[in-house]
Symmetry: C2
Subunit: 206 residues, 2 copies
DNA sequence: TGTACATCAGTGAACGCGCGTTCACTGATGTAC
DNA sequence: TGTACATCAGTGAACGCGCGTTCACTGATGTAC
């Protein structure tokens, strides 16, 4: 065989990409190395030419999903006015479409709880991506000091992913839609209707 | 052997109780039948005299954890004035203590995402317990129409469990504490400072 | 009251299976001459 | 330019291991007589 120089990287990237979908769908332990390789059109034996271990792939696949998500939100934000960015992200996130397609959705509600139990190495890799996502979200909040915006970004993200998890447990019916709607209102309520976050966190610029 | 009539029920309850701790700690697939039985001081062979399958135990253990939590919150609520109930629950929930001890904490952040991927039977059993928890939480919100209280209860619960998941990914340091604090403020902000929830959901009694 | 038998919660060996990982091998292509 | 060799991404059999589940058995105690 011996392919061109870029071939291995391309294959590697393809494995990561396909794995990131299936892992979000099935969970961090829900699908095996052999099936993951089959997704990429390969056999399991070649796996260790690309990754040190299954865990290494999980880390890469999660990082890939998070990077793509951050990119996507940033690009989407560029194309809309500043004051609508935050609410657009929240509204796009908390839809039945996202709820019903975990494989192509946010990796945090899909894998977060499992990841928190993984090795420190894996957990820290996740934490770093979460931090990036918080920064991205903070950048989309206009009209408040950065410190307050960051608080609001964190609160919005926790509400968003928590809402998605609960709504997925509830399935796809009325109850699930109700959860989605409540989460949407809560995450948005902090900007649109009632400007600042809460109690004594309102003034204090910086 | 042949123990007294209640003996089997007691053993059964002990397995469920111990399992509910370990499953929350290690995840729905993170610990095996043999280890779970060892926790209860038994050998694995006797497992199927108590449960149809491993999955059946997972359902029972989760239900047990949720029932205990609901009981505990209700009892705690009884002993404090109505207007402080909601905030006390939120503040007790979003502590480093709870974050650092998943085994004795809320089962939703620990097992929710995994459960959403389980069989419909398991998922529905979970959904029913979630509904109960929402009702319990709704009962602790005073001064707003029930419909608005329910919305707020759902929003608070999603924020609470989402915050716990994120803070656990972040570990136990500053970043993690920051997430906890942001979640606390957000979940409380909807009552204390800015009374109603948001937009057009304020009036409309019932 | 005393004895023989039935019960059944719990034991521990064994089962089949799928998993992550290893390894000897393949064969198309780049490189050295 | 043509030929021999080296490379190494990918193959597929095999490994050891742990898992959920099954099953023949045990033995203390309840029950029938």
């Amino acid at each position: 065989m011996r392919y061109s120089k870029e071939h291995k990287q391309e294959t590697h990237a393809r494995i990561v990409k396909k794995a990131s979908v299936r892992l979000r769908e099935k969970g961090a332990h829900g699908i095996g190395v052999a099936d993951l390789m089959k997704e990429a059109g390969l056999t399991h034996g070649g796996f260790y030419a690309h990754f040190d271990s299954r865990e290494a792939l999980v880390i890469e696949a999660f990082g890939y999903a998070m990077d793509r998500a951050n990119e996507r939100w940033r690009k989407m934000a560029e194309e809309i006015p500043a004051e609508k960015r935050f609410s657009t992200i929240v509204e796009t996130y908390l839809t039945p479409l996202h709820r019903d397609d975990p494989g192509h959705g946010c990796a945090v509600p899909a894998l977060g709880a499992e990841i928190a139990r993984e090795s420190p190495k894996t957990r820290k890799a996740f934490a770093a991506k979460i931090e990036q996502m918080i920064e991205m979200m903070t950048d989309q909040i206009s009209g408040v000091p950065r410190k307050a915006a960051r608080k609001q970004a964190i609160a919005a993200l926790t509400t968003m992913m928590g809402t998605l998890v609960l709504s997925r447990i509830a399935g796809t019916g009325e109850f699930s839609d109700e959860i989605l709607a409540s989460g949407r209102e809560a995450a948005l309520g902090r900007t649109a209707a009632s400007k600042p976050v809460a109690k004594k966190a309102k003034a204090k610029p910086n």
